[in-house]
């Protein structure tokens, strides 16, 4: 071993040390959430706080679970998010196909407008959109949330970018064979750019599951509430009287863990999927 490798090893272990520290810092709120959820009502108010409860109260999870219909809330969120993602994928794929495979009047102007809308805060449209949904009779319905989220501008960017890399010859060959555009989109473009579809689908699912302000304006009935509304309501109720932090932390775990688990299984699509949006193979 020469001095050079010793030096580079030191740098490397320094880097790992730093990364471990930073990762711990970033992940700490989740660990703290679980540790706090397991404390008794007395232990939670101890200062300095204990890192891990002396006597973990696993029953807190059960108690919190029974205090509000969290299962129903999670189902509602997963259901609406799934429908929205499917719609967004279809609409984005179709318009991306139009943008990349056809030359039509106003195409570039149209794309510029869509691009521009990505740079404006969508929340600024909530009043008229709310009135519109009221006129359609879609307040307090999932249809209201779904139709107003049917298109994702981010999805259009991502898929358009991926579609531009599909070789022209493949499309021409398919046309010569008599394939319709509809068929080409779903039989050639979809399989070739599948990673982009999956990446966008996951990102959009996470965003829709986490969405709070807009759904909370639309949904008012208790049994239709999404999980983000449910947890906020629970926090307000429990926070109001005497702050049941262990139960609140247990309930927060119900909300956070489904997504963390989904993320762990699908992380390569999040972390590397956004990286290479090109066509493979």
């Amino acid at each position: 071993m020469n001095t050079r490798t010793v030096w580079s090893n030191t740098v490397l272990s320094g880097k790992y040390l730093l990364l471990t520290f930073l990762s711990f810092l970033m992940f700490f709120p989740f660990l703290w959430m679980v540790s706090s959820a397991l404390k008794t009502k007395e232990e939670i108010w101890q200062f300095p706080p204990t890192w891990w409860p002396e006597n973990p109260q696993w029953s807190n999870f059960l108690e919190a679970w029974e205090m509000a219909p969290f299962g129903l809330y999670i189902f509602n969120s997963v259901f609406t998010a799934t429908v929205i993602v499917v719609l967004q994928l279809v609409t984005a794929a179709m318009i991306s196909y139009a943008f990349t495979q056809f030359k039509f009047k106003g195409r570039d102007a149209l794309f510029t407008i869509i691009l521009g809308s990505y740079m404006l805060p969508v929340a600024a449209t909530y009043v008229p959109s709310y009135v519109l949904l009221a006129d359609f009779g879609l307040l307090d319905t999932y249809s209201g949330i779904i139709v107003s989220n049917a298109v994702s501008v981010f999805g259009i960017f991502l898929l358009r970018q991926a579609f531009m890399q599909v070789p022209k010859e493949m499309v021409e060959a398919a046309r010569v064979d008599g394939a319709t555009h509809w068929r080409i989109l779903w039989k050639i473009f979809l399989p070739l750019t599948l990673p982009s579809f999956v990446t966008f689908g996951l990102i959009s699912f996470v965003q829709m599951y986490n969405n709070y302000l807009w759904p909370s304006l639309i949904i008012k009935s208790e049994e239709k509430m999404l999980i983000t509304q449910g947890i906020q309501k629970f926090f307000m109720q429990e926070g109001g009287y005497g702050l049941q932090w262990p139960l609140i932390m247990a309930a927060s775990s119900f909300v956070v863990f489904p997504l963390l688990i989904l993320f762990i299984f699908a992380q390569k699509f999040f972390v590397s999927g956004i990286n290479d949006q090109g066509v493979k193979g």
């Binding site: 990762s23 706080p49 740079m119 805060p121 449209t125 009043v127 302000l213 927060s252 989904l262 972390v271």
Partner: protein
């Protein structure tokens, strides 16, 4: 013979007819693909933008069917209202306070995890994980971390011999508290985009810089920063738009308080519209928010010609 000629004549006529029908169909095909996205986009994006501007010129209160046209009165009232300037300042404070650390932190994290060394994948996953979790839920967890009596944030401060803070109950520290949560959640997103950009930097450039005797820091300044600048521009605009419409964490942690110290433009918009039902005032705020965003995006695009280098 005659019949053959006639049939061929009829055939050609039918063919031209079919042809014109076909070309009409052909002209429509792109729109067939574009419309499923365009109709909702026009209904829930373009139309509300225009409609919002119209409502901002009225005194509509949502409940009564009628309204009077008041022109720019809502805007004038805002300009005369000292609260509006507080809210503007809070918005600037929050936006700069979140965008700058997210961009710089995202780039530094990406530099740390860009090389495919052993175990790096786990670090990438962990660093990105806050982004996937719901803001509402993690803001609740952070409220507990910031708890003034026994919260762990004050315990950490006490380790350094610092006095505990009131965090979200203090008008001085509530904004930094919310900024910390927002940056914590957004860092991973910026990191991912920088990772992508860093991988595209040709290694030849680093080698050339090494031959010229450049130090690591010089290489970072002269090679890395200019080459990832398109990503910096993109991320700055995206994070800025995100920050300008931040709501969830404010709603959970402070509801705009204490004493209005965390009330941003968007939060005031929400309060005017859905708590006071003053639709004119709310939509006037929306117009101002849109104009501010548009100006900031434009400024960045214009200035980007000086600092963004496309390969």
């Amino acid at each position: 013979m005659e019949t053959v000629a006639e049939t061929s004549k009829v055939e050609t006529q039918a063919k031209t007819k079919r042809k014109s029908k076909l070309s009409a169909l052909k002209a429509f095909t792109p729109w067939f693909f574009a419309l499923p996205a365009l109709v909702p986009l026009a209904t829930f994006w373009i139309y509300p933008m225009i409609n919002s501007f119209y409502i901002s010129m009225t005194d509509w209160d949502y409940i009564s069917p009628g309204y009077t046209f008041v022109f720019f009165e809502n805007y004038l009232n805002l300009i005369k209202n000292p609260v509006f300037y507080e809210v503007l300042w809070n918005t600037v404070y929050f936006t700069l306070g979140t965008v700058i650390p997210t961009i710089i932190g995202g780039l530094l994290l990406a530099l740390l995890v860009v090389k495919n060394q052993r175990g790096i994948g786990i670090f990438r996953t962990v660093l990105f994980s806050p982004w996937v979790t719901p803001t509402v839920a993690v803001a609740i967890v952070w409220s507990w971390i910031y708890e003034p009596e026994t919260g762990i944030a004050n315990w950490v401060l006490s380790l350094f011999g610092l006095p505990g803070l009131e965090w979200t109950s203090s008008s001085q520290w509530a904004m930094p508290a919310i900024i910390i949560v927002t940056v914590w959640k957004g860092l991973g997103w910026a990191m991912i985009f920088y990772l992508n950009a860093l991988k595209r930097v040709p290694t030849v450039l680093y080698e050339a810089a090494s031959i010229d005797g450049a130090s690591s820091f010089q290489k970072f300044l002269k090679v890395t920063v200019p080459l990832v600048s398109p990503t910096t521009l993109f991320l700055t605009i995206i994070t800025m738009v995100e920050s300008l419409q931040a709501y969830d964490q404010i709603q959970v942690m402070t509801q705009g308080g204490p004493a209005g110290s965390t009330r941003t433009l968007l939060y005031m918009y929400y309060q005017s519209a859905f708590e006071e039902f003053n639709m004119g005032k709310a939509t006037a705020l929306a117009t101002i928010l849109i104009i501010i965003t548009a100006i900031l995006s434009l400024v960045q695009f214009k200035s980007s010609k000086k600092w963004v280098h496309y390969q």
